[in-house]
């Protein structure tokens, strides 16, 4: 057994103490969010604020009494009467856009990655170089022309505007290509000897083999799209096309009183739950995705 000297032990104790405090600090916003989402209006207005909920309620989500009586305010699901489906419509918009971009973005990136990793053709290295170089371009440079182009196409306020410009993810292509380089060529050759076309080889042999990479990359893309604020901010005008990040920007109005805190926390909770669920399901891939993309990148 190793014997550690007393200084190291003290250092470890102190370090652990600090880290525990930091961990608690990390949890504070989450605690405050859950707390606020289930408090009654009266409790939200309480001074000093309460740290344990006395009478938990779902009124911040849906309040059957609505605005009228004192100590009541409209719940999140009642807030948007002009939009069919109200808040659920915004949830749907965010889900649909994030999922569609993730799936189609992964697919076209994987196709391109396969060709770049396993085929040889004139210009291959040129294309690869361009894709890698493009990863340095910050979105701030392309957002203005993209906005102008999307306006000219008449896509403002449509799903097209949210989906199509987001499809080509160079970092996904790069990441998947690096992963595919390690696939043994013999497997692909076996497929070719069986007379399978390249597309068939891609679908039946390559895609199943890169499953873990697809999951890691998919989670990464999904989280980014779910969080995307700037692009919907410039391309979406109408109420019913809004995504969750756009709704969140309205949840912090400095002139609204404590009454609105419950609704804001409920919205924050509903916005963060989907990604947290994915995280719980795919912890390993999340962490691997980060470690791998960074170390290799």
């Amino acid at each position: 057994m190793k014997h550690t000297d007393p200084t190291t032990q003290i250092l470890q104790r102190v370090g652990m103490g600090i880290v525990l405090i930091m961990a608690l600090t990390t949890l504070i916003p989450y605690y405050w969010m859950v707390l606020g989402a289930f408090k009654t209006v009266r409790e939200l207005n309480a001074i000093p604020p309460t740290f344990v909920i006395h009478e938990p309620t779902l009124n911040s989500f849906y309040d059957p009494l609505g605005e009228l009586p004192p100590d009541h305010t409209k719940g999140l699901l009642q807030l948007y009467p002009n939009t069919q489906g109200g808040f659920m419509r915004y949830m749907f918009n965010s889900f649909f856009v994030s999922a569609a971009i993730t799936v189609s973005g992964l697919l076209i990136a994987a196709l391109g990655a396969f060709v770049l990793a396993k085929h040889r053709f004139p210009g291959r290295d040129f294309f690869f170089m361009i894709f890698v170089a493009s990863m340095m371009i910050p979105w701030q440079v392309t957002i203005i022309p993209n906005f102008l182009n999307v306006s000219r196409l008449g896509w403002i306020d449509t799903y097209w505007a949210l989906l199509i410009p987001a499809l080509a993810k160079a970092f996904a292509l790069f990441f998947l290509r690096q992963y595919m380089l390690s696939l043994p060529d013999e497997m692909l050759e076996a497929g070719r000897l069986d007379g399978a076309g390249e597309l068939r080889i891609f679908v039946t042999i390559v895609l199943p083999l890169i499953g873990p990479a697809l999951v890691s990359m998919g989670l990464f893309i999904w989280l980014n799209e779910w969080n995307n604020l700037v692009w919907p901010l410039v391309t979406i005008r109408s109420e019913e096309m809004r995504t969750l990040p756009l709704i969140m920007t309205t949840m912090i109005d400095p002139f609204s009183g404590a009454n609105k805190q419950g609704v804001a926390m409920a919205a924050a909770l509903l916005t963060s739950i989907p990604t947290l669920v994915l995280f719980v399901l795919f912890q390993k891939q999340f962490v691997q995705g980060i470690a791998v993309t960074s170390v290799k990148g």
Partner: protein, 395 residues
Amino acid sequence: MSDRSFSVSPPVTRNTSSVPIWVRIWRSRVSYMMLLPFLIPFTIFVVMPLVQSAVVSLYDYSAVATDEPEFVGAENYAALLSLELKELPALFDEETNERMFQCGRRKLPQSEVAAYEAEEGELCTPAFARARDILSEGYTDWTVFNINATQYVIGARDTRFWTSISNTLVFVFFTVIGKLVLGLMVALVLRKQTITTYILRLIFFLPSVTASIAITVVWGWIFRGQPYGLINHLALQAGMVTEPIPFLNSAAWTMPILMIMAIWGGIGYNMILFLAGLQNINPELYEVAAIDGAGPWQTFSHITLPLLRPTTLYILITSIIGGFQVFEAVYILFASSEGMGGVLDSGLTVVPYLYDRGFRLFQMGYASAVAWILFAIIFVLSLINLRVGRANEAY
């Protein structure tokens, strides 16, 4: 795709140097076809906008006005980057040629200063010429500073841009160091794999996988300027303040709040990277060090830290790049119809400024120029990152 009858097998390349290029291209058509689904959106929404952006940045291009965009060459860049340093001359009375002093709101000659100070009980300071009389046309004073009793003024044609740059630099400096140091500390403490460290790692990683927008809103309520805001409540309770602090409406608090949020959200990510780096360190090194009687500090500074150098540099540069692009938190907490940067532009960083020009004032050309200046900064940092990466491989 039905090309199995052909001898197209793309990946199998014999020595092809004797085959003409167009034959090789024709033989590779399957490969090109499979690249197209990516290449088309990539060309339209990445490559083309890049070129357009460069062109637009040379125009006076308003997205709302009906006038045609006007070509202005490098004028947008000149307006953004122009700075001017001038000495502010001391102020003298025009008739008596006496040195003038600033006493409260009045300017008094030196002879009357003593009387004023005695009467009002406040000190006078030497008066200087007004900055706007000194600066060239088109320039306004951005900042005034004092060296050896000489007053200097820095004028800029676009003072808000320089405010955004200096705010960004402050933000980057403190958040990058904060995230780096705390991330490393957490990684070192949670290095061993036990059930406790596993749970703690998960907790620290949470902010990286939560919708940051939602958490920003929660922070906004935590920092509320009323007593029901969590921080104000705690501060009042602890007796640190007597009145609630209007955190979100006070210029002094804008940057600290942005930085706290950024550091809070970034520790876990850096922790993961450091843990990966620590894993690559050969444990035998530590055993040897222990046998040699090295203390914890020596072990850390001679083994752990040098071997974490690649990870540290990577984190350093990517977080600087990320810091330059901060936007969401500023927008959600501080943007208003008057500007994106909060009270007195105290939270105005580069990207919110770009957004302000482009999508509040609709000056597309000007905003594009801001974007290219940002791009230049990020490009240089990325090049450094590449070089560091290469050096690390040799490491």
